[in-house]
């Protein structure tokens, strides 16, 4: 994978989750690391690049994020669909999911967050402490401080969805382990009056 991975300018980081994919939230603190799936994330600001992600306050991930003040977001492609669902079905309090699912544990360059190999892209985010939003809505805001993407599908600030990289196309959870994949790239045409 690494041969294809290239840094993404922070000005383009929001585009990595702009299409609403299911993501993997990674976390680490004092020698323990974790990964969970999250369907609920979105960018909130281009500059500085900021995102929001819903992390249930009962999860081990939330505990690690609170302790370290950081989290990672990895964007799995279609080839990681089963893995994405699997890591969402078991708590990291009970098992080391990296070991259980044979995920090589790599670390991001700025915050040392785990990075899941085989994803289309990842972002390292510094938690922006917002106690009320975290408490009332489980919504964690983060500032993106590093990002990288597989250049076979995201290059120079743009996603390139093609027939020859379908394994990296985004996945979107409908519920109960049922997903759709994003594909069928199309450019909007101007409308009369537009």
């Amino acid at each position: 994978m690494d041969a294809f991975f290239k840094p993404v300018e922070l000005a383009h980081a929001s585009r990595l989750v702009n299409h609403g994919p299911t993501v993997l939230v990674t976390s680490a603190h004092q020698g323990r690391a974790n990964v969970m799936a999250a369907a609920w994330s979105m960018p909130v600001e281009f500059t500085p690049p900021r995102i929001a992600v819903v992390i249930d306050k009962r999860t081990f991930t939330r505990e690690l994020v609170a302790a370290s003040g950081a989290f990672g977001l990895c964007i799995p492609g279609a080839s990681l669909l089963d893995l994405t669902y699997a890591v969402g079905q078991v708590s990291g309090r009970k098992v080391d999911k990296f070991a259980r699912f044979g995920l090589p544990l790599r670390t991001g360059p700025v915050l040392g967050m785990p990075v899941v190999e085989g994803c289309a892209a990842w972002l390292e985010c510094r938690l922006i402490p917002e106690p009320h939003a975290q408490d009332a809505y489980d919504t964690c805001f983060g500032e993106v401080v590093a990002a990288a993407a597989d250049s076979r599908i995201f290059d120079r600030g743009h996603w390139n969805y093609r027939e020859d990289n379908t394994e990296l196309h985004g996945i979107h959870h409908l519920g109960g382990g049922h997903f759709v994949r994003s594909s069928g790239s199309v450019q909007a045409r101007p409308l009369p009056g537009g």
Copy 2:
């Protein structure tokens, strides 16, 4: 369209945006109505059903939402891709977008928010006042008080993506009018250790 539209239980409302589609945010106050496109929205809570959507504070939509304390979210399918992009390119301060784009103005049952005909689903949301999140992140939280969906694609709490309803499949904005569609429905398989 109406023949196919059925109410959606509020317990299932989060699923309408769970897959991260580009949405249309609708608003109305004192005889003026508006519609804009938004790529940045997500559920934040199942019960009560709550969502978050980023609405730039400079937009006319934001002004109407602040005045009325409500907004609508409509989920366009692939057949409304050009329209979705078009309504995101012009401000409702300058033009009546419903008139300009020939959108029939219908209203939701509880809050009277505009509903865009031809969408796969819509939600009426009561704004939850959160001055700090609105100011710092343009993030508006809302509680879903009514929802409905086209039963050809969402029925009894579940999305049914099929070959015969592709015009209602979700769209996901990559940037610059470039979209992908969600399709290719697939069920996750259990992993060893999962």
